[in-house]
């Protein structure tokens, strides 16, 4: 037994495909989960609303829903509000109220806030999670959405009818919680805007990371370590505009003795990154997939204490905790390889598919 499974599929040409492949892939690693959490992120699923932020919400009760709808109507113009369709599924019980909204920031409010649109949305997400009892933002990106809950991932996929959505990028998670509770909001992926994280492992540096990220206005409300990774990427990539390659060096920094072996220029850069972003360093064992609108980044901790396999065929790039999870949906990929500890795998789209 080994905790947690992750899997991801990107169609680099931007061709969209339904959720059955990603479900098959994550289901193959059934033994890595224990039924206490499963989830999926899907990119490209809302082409008709692609310019609006899609808010996926969990509510404990109707009061929370009313409070959030009041909040949303004050801060956004809401073009659609609907229940996320689910089907009755054996093994999936105690689901919260699951709703989605397509929204754009209210022009007047946005202007007086003097924030850019993304930052405005981030602040609203933090306020809902922090201030409205029983309400949780599951995802808040454009043309993407997260579907998660308590159960095995294959049952969660069935529950959310993922065979009815088409995405160019899917990521998935099967959870085996060890340190934190298994609850609907605590399932992976964790998201902010269009960043989503699935994670196998644990963050030993969580306390330091949390204190650091809260200085920038992020609030950790999901009772799990993984959440902090999402916010760190948002901070480094969106706010500080670091290139992906450098952000990776902050989070999975090479060991000091390895930096000593590098040439002068590289040493200087990496020492600077470690000094400035020391508190963003993720210590502990992990493999993660960061999904975003252009593709994904897969990354191991620097001494590779969790598994990660990558494969490619003509149009697709796959990543998973186990090779067999890739072969289940692509029996003969062109290449199969295992990235080294701290070596990022950056998979990007060549073009978008707009239907």
């Amino acid at each position: 037994m080994s905790g947690c499974a992750i899997s991801g599929i990107l169609n680099r040409k931007g061709h969209r495909f339904d959720g059955s492949d990603i479900i098959k892939s994550i289901a193959l690693m059934h033994e890595r989960s224990n039924g206490m959490g499963g989830g999926f992120a899907a990119y490209g699923i809302y082409p008709r609303h692609k310019d609006e932020y899609a808010f996926h919400m969990f509510y404990d009760d109707l009061e929370a829903k009313e409070d959030v709808e009041y909040f949303l109507n004050r801060h956004f113009s809401v073009s659609a509000s609907e229940e996320i369709p689910t089907r009755k599924t054996k093994n999936i019980t105690n689901a919260p109220i699951i709703w989605r909204y397509f929204v754009k920031p209210d022009i007047q409010k946005l202007r007086t806030s003097e924030l850019n649109t993304d930052e405005y949305v981030v602040r609203c997400v933090m306020r809902i999670n922090d201030e409205i009892q029983g309400a949780f933002v599951v995802s808040s990106g454009k043309n993407m959405g997260v579907f998660k809950g308590v159960g095995y991932p294959e049952d969660i996929g069935e529950f959310y009818r993922l065979d009815e959505y088409k995405a160019y990028l899917w990521t998935a998670h099967g959870r085996f919680p060890t340190n934190t509770p298994g609850w609907w909001g605590g399932a992976h992926p964790f998201t902010l805007l269009d960043w989503s994280i699935v994670h196998n492992g644990e963050i030993s540096s969580y306390g330091a990371n949390q204190r650091y990220i809260e200085m920038f206005g992020y609030k950790c409300t999901m009772m799990t370590d993984t959440e902090v990774i999402t916010y760190l990427f948002d901070l480094l990539l969106r706010k500080h505009k670091l290139p992906l390659e450098i952000a990776v060096k902050a989070l999975a920094a090479p060991l000091w003795d390895e930096i000593e072996k590098m040439d002068d220029k590289e040493q200087k850069l990496l020492k600077a990154v470690r000094l400035i972003y020391g508190n963003a360093l993720l210590n502990g064992p992990f493999s993660i997939i960061l999904g975003h609108k252009n593709g994904f980044l897969a990354l191991n901790d620097r001494i590779k204490l969790r598994p990660l396999v990558v494969a490619e065929d003509q149009e697709r790039i796959f990543v998973a905790s186990e090779e067999s999870a890739i072969r289940e949906i692509c029996p003969q990929p062109d290449t199969v390889w295992t990235p080294r500890g701290g070596e990022p795998v950056i998979a990007l789209m060549e073009g978008g598919d707009e239907e």
Binding site: D257, P307, S324, R327
Partner: protein, 245 residues
């Protein structure tokens, strides 16, 4: 050779089916369409031969003693975990912690292997486990190694990448590694003594590599022409005095 189709079969059922066949007296079993099923052959006692077509799942041959398994494909993590006896041959690559705490028998991998291969493998008198890797190895090769032989040939793998990764033999206190090529001092753990091979090493390498080359149809002499580096711990008990004031 009796054949089992593993497609869509859960590992528990698959292993039970194999055990049934062994009970009925079959000693040669072929598994086709294997994809990720765990624990194949785990805890089995020989003599039995299992041929696998596909990708074998985690902990294959864990705690096995005397099983002979040939895989035509890749294997995942934890293969040969605490294996006591037997022969594993993989016509492909292997994942992390291959041969974890292995105590006897041989593991032959044609291509690359992942991180922490041979971690804490151990030997006792004539019972010395052997791992031979045809390609390259990831970091922490032979971590805490306490006995046996680990050989890395570097015949396949990404060009330009070093034959072994960083932190080789960290905590090593027994056994020997033979690396076919140069190993930079700063790739090694502090406990490691690096030297060229001598005649007795050469004899041992011939012994170890003869069955390996036969399996993968490789030319033994060509392989032996390469320059081998021997890695051994300076001391067999580096921490022997840790608690002796």
């Amino acid at each position: 050779m009796v054949e089992l189709d593993a497609s869509g079969i859960h590992y528990r059922e698959l292993n039970n089916n194999i055990k049934e066949l062994i009970k009925k007296g079959h000693d040669k079993i072929k598994l086709v369409n294997v994809n990720g099923q765990r624990y194949i052959g785990s805890g089995f006692e020989g003599p039995v031969k299992i041929n696998i077509e596909g990708t074998a799942g985690n902990d294959m041959a864990a705690f096995a003693s005397g099983v002979e398994i040939s895989v035509y494909g890749n294997v995942q993590d934890g293969i040969g975990n605490t294996m006591g006896e037997g022969v594993i041959t993989v016509h492909g690559q292997a994942g992390d912690i291959l041969g974890y705490a292995m105590r006897g028998g041989s593991i032959y991998i044609r291509d690359n292997v992942g991180y922490r291969v041979g971690i804490h493998m151990k030997g006792y008198r004539d019972k010395q486990p052997v791992i031979v890797v045809g390609g390259k190895a990831g970091d922490f090769l032979g971590e805490y190694m306490a006995g046996g032989y680990l050989v890395v040939l570097g015949l396949t793998g990404r060009p330009g990448e070093p034959i072994v990764g960083n932190h080789v033999g960290v905590g090593m206190h027994g056994g020997v590694m033979y690396i076919r090529g140069e190993v930079d001092g700063n790739q090694l753990g502090p406990e490691i003594d690096v030297s060229e091979i001598d005649e007795s090493d050469r004899t041992r390498l011939v012994e170890i590599l003869t069955p390996y080359c036969r399996r993968f149809k490789l030319n033994l002499n060509e392989i032996l022409e390469g320059r081998f580096t021997r890695l051994k711990p300076f001391s067999s008990r580096p921490y022997g005095k840790l608690y002796a004031y």
